[in-house]
């Protein structure tokens, strides 16, 4: 086994094993930690394929952004008086077992049916960052702009939901008085 092969196996194991372990974890925060490992493993695979920009963007967006927000939400909402390790009774376990079996069968079916096209890695000769930038702003400008509009809509929606209603003000008319509202938001 060559050096790069062994590195591949390190990353592949890091990507798959935590994802598998999530199934056996009850604590949500621990799941988040395992997800962190899994996402990092995938980032490592991108890096090994010389896609440095993609790899670091993966870490930045998923690990540095989405997962931390997820964790933030869990920590804000989880209450210590509710036990983390709930017992799962047969009422949940039996349907859960069959649902899982069904899902696994479906995934296996797709995985075995699909004619996977595999070819050896293509060496990257030029830095990928300018290539991605130019492609995004020329060939793929329409999807790029569509995504930006989607994100803008999500942002406006989130701001609307997070807005604190002033007491007594009619719906949608609420104007924030500065310090008071912010204190409650955070």
């Amino acid at each position: 086994m060559s050096f790069s092969d062994s590195i591949f196996w390190v990353f592949a194991t890091t990507a798959v094993v935590p994802a598998f372990l999530i199934l056996f974890t009850r604590s949500i925060v621990r799941m988040a930690f395992l997800l962190l490992g899994s996402l990092a493993g995938f980032a490592g695979l991108y890096l090994q394929l010389n896609a440095a920009f993609l790899g670091f963007t993966q870490v930045m967006v998923y690990i540095g952004g989405i997962l931390i927000l997820f964790l933030f939400g869990v920590m804000l909402t989880q209450r210590s008086d509710i036990p983390v390790r709930e017992k799962v009774g047969p009422a949940l376990a039996v349907p859960g077992f069959f649902a899982g079996l069904l899902l696994m069968a479906a995934l296996l079916f797709i995985a075995l049916q699909n004619p996977w096209k595999t070819h050896p890695p293509v060496p990257v000769t030029e830095p990928d960052t300018p290539v991605i930038g130019i492609k995004l702003l020329s060939t793929y400008i329409l999807p790029f702009e569509a995504v930006s509009i989607l994100l803008l809509a999500a942002m406006v929606g989130a701001t609307y939901i997070a807005r604190v209603q002033a007491p007594g003000a009619p719906d949608g008319q609420a104007e924030l008085s500065d310090s008071n509202a912010e204190g409650r938001l955070e």
Partner: protein
């Protein structure tokens, strides 16, 4: 790939790592001495000449302290917290050129790498805070994640305008673009410099943004329950992150290893460049310490207000202006 280039990489990595690690205890000593000077005190001056052996004594004390794990703490995450905080900060230094042509890895996406690595430090703090099973720790961890996410956006947007000016995301190319004094990015992107530096303080949880560990409200914040070497690791991580951020400020804005004029070729030039880089690094670190012992802490809503309502819009406006200027500049040329 053969083994010898890998070995060379390892040697370089170990050298840089050792240099940063050696710097930390003395930075702590400098912090204590400078704070004493600012507050008209004497500071530690008993251990060794001028107190220079104080860091050694501190480290020995930390190593031999008993480690206490709080009851009903999540033991795995509790132990991993300090490590998760320290490792990303230490890794980040790999991409920073500490002298002309002297860096562990010359990455084509160096800026992205360092920013990514430093943003991961929040995991150590939030996992540690959560796993401690202590409300003060949890609040510290929560505050830290909210603060770091908020200021990361301002920081990233400030960086975009720098990248637009220099036309590269490689740290070595950004350094080489600043060899003459007037090309330093602090002159070309002064607004981005202010935003980046402010956000750097917040990313490092340093005063005036040290809400995750503010003593008057949260005991010790996220590390309330940590003792012994685990606490030492958090402490180490904080200072390494501070060195990394200072190095980034120097590399991105203050002309990196360039003294402002062309260096002589060969070994002499390289040695001078390392000296210049270290000098600038120490100057920025001194500024960090100076700010910490001068400014009071922000209130939490002021912190969020500054981040979201001042720095982010300012950075966005800066990007638009930079875009217009760069386009006109390219058209004129």
């Amino acid at each position: 790939m053969t083994w010898s280039p890998i070995l060379l990489d390892v040697i370089r990595a170990v050298l840089i790592f050792a240099a940063v690690m050696t710097l930390v205890p003395f930075l702590v000593l400098a912090e204590r001495r400078i704070s004493a000077w600012i507050q008209n005190r004497v500071g530690p001056n008993r251990v060794g000449p001028m107190g220079t052996l104080q860091p050694l004594a501190d480290v020995i004390k930390l190593v031999f302290k008993e480690e206490i794990v709080p009851a009903r703490a999540d033991r795995v995450l509790y132990s991993l917290g300090p490590l998760l905080s320290f490792a990303p900060a230490a890794i980040a230094f790999a991409a920073i050129p500490v002298g002309r042509g002297l860096q562990v890895v010359d990455m084509s996406v160096g800026v992205l790498f360092v920013i990514t690595a430093t943003s991961l430090a929040v995991y150590g703090i939030s996992f540690g805070g959560w796993a401690s099973n202590n409300k003060f720790s949890l609040l510290g961890g929560l505050r830290s994640s909210a603060q770091i996410i908020s200021y990361e956006i301002a920081m990233g947007l400030a960086l975009i305008s720098v990248i637009m000016t220099t036309g590269s995301v490689s740290l070595s190319q950004i350094s080489e673009g600043q060899t003459s004094f007037l090309c330093w990015n602090i002159f070309r992107q002064p607004i981005a410099f202010v935003i980046f530096f402010t956000a750097a303080f917040a990313e490092n949880n340093r005063l005036p943004f040290d809400l995750p560990e503010c003593e008057s409200e949260l005991v010790g914040g996220y590390h309330t329950e940590y003792s012994g070497m685990k606490f030492g690791m958090y402490f180490l991580a904080e200072y390494v992150a501070m060195i990394v951020m200072s190095a980034m400020v120097v590399t991105l804005f203050l002309g990196a290893w360039s003294p402002g004029f062309a260096l002589p070729e060969g070994l002499l030039g390289t040695v001078i460049s390392v000296g210049v880089f270290s000098f600038k690094l120490f100057a920025v670190l001194f500024f960090y310490i100076w700010v910490r012992w001068t400014l009071p802490r922000f209130r939490y809503d002021q912190l969020m207000h500054l981040g979201w309502k001042s720095l982010v819009p300012l950075a966005m406006a800066n990007i638009v202006v930079t875009g217009i200027v760069v386009t006109i500049w390219d058209a004129v040329q």
